[in-house]
């Protein structure tokens, strides 16, 4: 106990159900940054598992960048990309300069759009245009990009529903930490009384280090040096990254139509190591919490540094870890913590969402396809 054992053999979850013929699903990937590349790698790595245990043959037919795309009718494998990062894309025979996502979606039989372009929570672009084109064109969507959902959650949800398509965004709501999964699936039939989440790893790391005595600026610089915080950390430390994740979770799990304007947001920039020391003396700690509570007749959404008692299920969630607690009427408090937030973790969340569009793993019956 205490560490993740590293073992050579990796066995496979699931009921051991043999699926005879895998269903072919065309994929188009928009965005080829860290997450997009990790997703391409995962598709190769998991090909056999996906066929055998989930009955899915995922076929990557196009990968779009801002200046063109790799396209292949027969499916893109790692050989379709330039050998080395930074190498000229034009060296790939699959590269079509100037190719746009919108054009590609019209020529490929609809399947799933995987959206991984950079997040812009002001305009939502370029992801917003991608999601709208996909949902109008009959494509399911899984996305790691918060921007479009922060800007137009309701519009996108309505568009998916009107077209009988699935729009999923686990990767945008804390990557491999299953937040919406637990709230919607594991708590089915329970009523949620309140939600509290530590949803941003960067601020949690800074607060943890401040609890160990570091001052804010020192802890932030340390996080930047380690690649945990971005060069411009404003979205994280001012609470907006937490707010967008809270919006996605609350709208999904509670069926709301919150916009960012509905959330009261306060970051951690005013926190001092002295405040953390004081909390510690009272056997508490300070965490940046995204919280949904109920005021008479409506939900109240807020993000702010809050005092957390030592008996609270999120008390021990420290460093870059994240976690979320759902307080319910019948099931008590259910808390989920952990889950990788690196590009591979985000890619795994995208893959999970694709699996859930087509089948629900079940221990005792064949998966439903």
């Amino acid at each position: 106990v205490g560490s993740n054992p590293t073992l050579s053999a990796i066995l496979i979850p699931g009921a051991g159900t043999i699926i005879k013929k895998a269903r072919q699903v065309p994929l188009v990937l928009a965005g080829f940054g860290h997450v997009g590349k990790a997703f391409c790698g995962l598709l190769q790595e998991k090909d056999e598992l996906l066929r055998k245990h989930y009955g899915l043959a995922l076929k990557l037919q196009a990968v779009l960048k801002s200046d063109g795309g790799f396209i292949s009718d027969s499916g893109i494998t790692p050989k379709g990309f330039p050998d080395r990062p930074g190498q000229n894309t034009a060296r790939s025979p699959l590269w079509k300069p100037g190719q746009t996502l919108e054009a590609v979606l019209k020529t490929v039989k609809p399947g799933v759009l995987v959206e991984c372009t950079p997040s812009n929570v002001q305009t939502g672009e370029p992801g917003l245009g991608h999601l709208r084109a996909a949902l109008r064109g009959g494509w399911h969507v899984v996305t790691a990009n918060k921007g479009p959902l922060a800007v137009d959650f309701k519009g996108l949800r309505d568009l998916a529903q009107a077209n009988h398509l699935v729009l999923k965004y686990s990767a945008a709501t804390a990557a491999a930490l299953p937040t919406i999964d637990v709230g919607l699936y594991s708590l089915a039939g329970a009523e949620i009384i309140s939600i509290e989440g530590i949803l941003n790893g960067t601020t949690n790391y800074i607060l943890t280090r401040m609890g160990e005595g570091a001052e804010y600026k020192e802890a932030l610089r340390e996080a930047q040096d380690q690649g945990i915080a971005e060069h411009n950390p404003a979205l994280d430390v001012e609470g907006w990254d937490t707010a967008v994740k809270l919006l996605l979770i609350a709208n999904s799990v509670l069926g709301l139509d919150l916009t960012l304007q509905d959330i009261k947001v306060e970051g951690i920039t005013q926190i001092t190591s002295g405040l953390l020391e004081k909390a510690k003396q009272e056997e508490k700690t300070l965490k940046l919490i995204g919280r949904m509570t109920q005021a008479p007749g409506r939900w109240k959404a807020e993000v702010s540094p809050m005092s957390v008692e030592s008996t609270h299920p999120l008390f021990g969630v420290s460093r870059t870890n994240k976690g979320i607690t759902f307080w319910t009427d019948t099931m008590g408090a259910v808390t989920v913590t952990g889950g990788k937030s690196d590009p591979r973790g985000a890619a795994a969340a995208l893959l999970k969402d694709i699996i859930h569009i087509f089948c629900i793993p079940n221990a005792t019956t064949s998966f439903r396809l």
Copy 2:
């Protein structure tokens, strides 16, 4: 932060999808103890939510006890039962003395059997006979009873698969704590490297109290006085309750066919407060852990008191709380903790399993029925 807010208004999870016509599902309940009664109460309490958000009209057509049953074609409501606990069942007009489950299953249109009879991990009865009769007769099954699954997991799973029926048992694997849900659903596409769980509330309470200085016998007596431990605590303190839960989780999530004989089981009866004090000095603690790890070419299953480091995600799971950690190849460590284990929590887990037989909540599309 820090306590479960008590508020009058309870809002409803889900996407706010309006379902026009609810699907009628006949239910038969076997066992009318604490869990069975809590389940009956929950059916009434959740009737509107089930119709509106999950499209389900659950109709309780029979409740079987060991000496007969309450039967009603038009559905049993609380009025169908005797007014007060302990009151003679014969006072209910719905009471049919000597009625058996097997006979009832043949006369009602198949739906879902809800199994809540007392657990017997030696013989599996009477639940084992109930489950076999139901699965042979075209009934889906949800059960809170560990006995039948401990005795014949493979046989029951095969029987469900052969008849294209769903057999679910969340309530038997830590009640409202979503163990199998997280392993099968939230980790879809990931490969599980190892599993570690604190799966028994009684032993966790005793170990917590011993960590606070109490001796074993004192802590056990205290747990018995508070109704946490049973008069005969052998199944808990000797590790067998944890072993059965580990068996159910591992067989489901990893697709194995473990029997109880495959699990190395050691309880907490040899633990002293001195050992806990020593662990504390090393910033560790002792927990009764059910663990699945991989030896070359096979899985190793064991239950024993283990040393847990302060950085381990289960370190803070104390008193009657439970928790489980899945270590994966792509998603890191995902841990879920909490979830009520009282009769209402178990009943909520039964209800969740019924919902999942018929629909999967989804944030952006209508539920799939």
